[in-house]
Symmetry: C2
Subunit: 197 residues, 2 copies
């Protein structure tokens, strides 16, 4: 099997392995994730996995991190509201991916795999800005558009918390309209822009 | 077994059955919840269960509803901030109960038991005010202390969303200090009281 795909570049192999580990997790679960299973699914040899990663969990973390989006404020305009909506839209698009389901399944088993769960916070979430909307809010605070003292951990979590809560309660991903409501009614007031009605 | 407890009053029997169904769910799971198992655990006969409830899920819903707290604004003082903190503290105390774990386990299996999950929203949450902080916010809006137009579904969900998110991320129940931060930094600004710093 590995032989038939010998012409893949390194980047292609890495991409195949990352997709494979997420699929493998969904199929067999964290307890049965093995280098063997990942290699087989990616059409490569176990030895080539060990050249890059030292455990199935290391492969998984690498895949989750690679697929986690990096939020960026736009540099060509000055629109805090739209940048916040875009940041939440980035989160919602990610929530629809197999990687997001992989993250959820690992975190759901946190009691059994506490180190892996902690590693997801440290190496996946925190390395990409901590929380959706945080990078945007810090950018505008740095530019003097809002008081940096208002950017507390609670405030940085308002957007993610409401997206997750509304998604969970409705069993559907929030629409752009809902994201705008979260920004207008909850995030902007918390950073000093009183709600309008 | 039922004979040995024949002197229980109706209220005692109902309480024993409600405790039993929550324990039984934790032990066997939703798929194996039976009138037989609940009755046995409660030390009563299946027939006496059927006098009151027509299915194991009906027993469960009744127990979840009975144990879900009812938020009330204090009537002796006028302190929106403290009433909001108390409302979230009520939620956090509930989160530490076996009933809350039962609710979480049912909602986690929503794909398999959609009607039961919907019934939890309708008969447990909505019948007790919808969301923690909602009853308090509506009370102050009715009293003219805040603009009722600001009490949108998103705003009603800020407190619960942040409590759940912070509890999930930290794997610990939020402290009173954290609840105060949620109220001061997120809920009050959203209902028209700008954040202070």
């Amino acid at each position: 099997m590995a032989g038939t795909r010998a012409r893949r570049t390194d980047a292609e192999l890495v991409a195949a392995v990352r997709a494979a580990v997420v699929e493998e997790l969904a199929e067999v679960g964290l307890g049965k994730l093995t280098m063997e299973g990942i290699a087989h699914r990616a059409g490569t040899a176990k030895t080539s996995l060990y050249r890059r990663w030292d455990s199935p969990q290391a492969v998984l973390l690498d895949a989750l991190r690679a697929e986690f989006p990096q939020e960026r404020p736009r540099t060509t305009s000055d629109d805090l509201r739209q940048d916040l909506i875009d940041a939440l839209a980035l989160m919602v698009r990610w929530m629809a991916t197999p990687t997001a389901r992989a993250v959820a399944s690992v975190l759901a088993e946190r009691d059994r795999y506490p180190e892996l769960a902690d590693a997801i916070y440290a190496h996946v979430f925190d390395s990409k800005g901590g929380r959706f909307t945080s990078t945007v809010l810090r950018h505008y605070a740095d530019a003097g558009a809002l008081d940096p003292a208002l950017l507390t951990p609670v405030v940085a979590d308002i957007g993610e918390a409401l997206v997750l809560k509304l998604a969970f309660d409705s069993d559907e991903l929030p629409t752009e309209h809902t994201l705008a409501a979260i920004v207008d009614q909850a995030i902007l007031p918390a950073v000093g822009f009183p709600p309008m009605q």
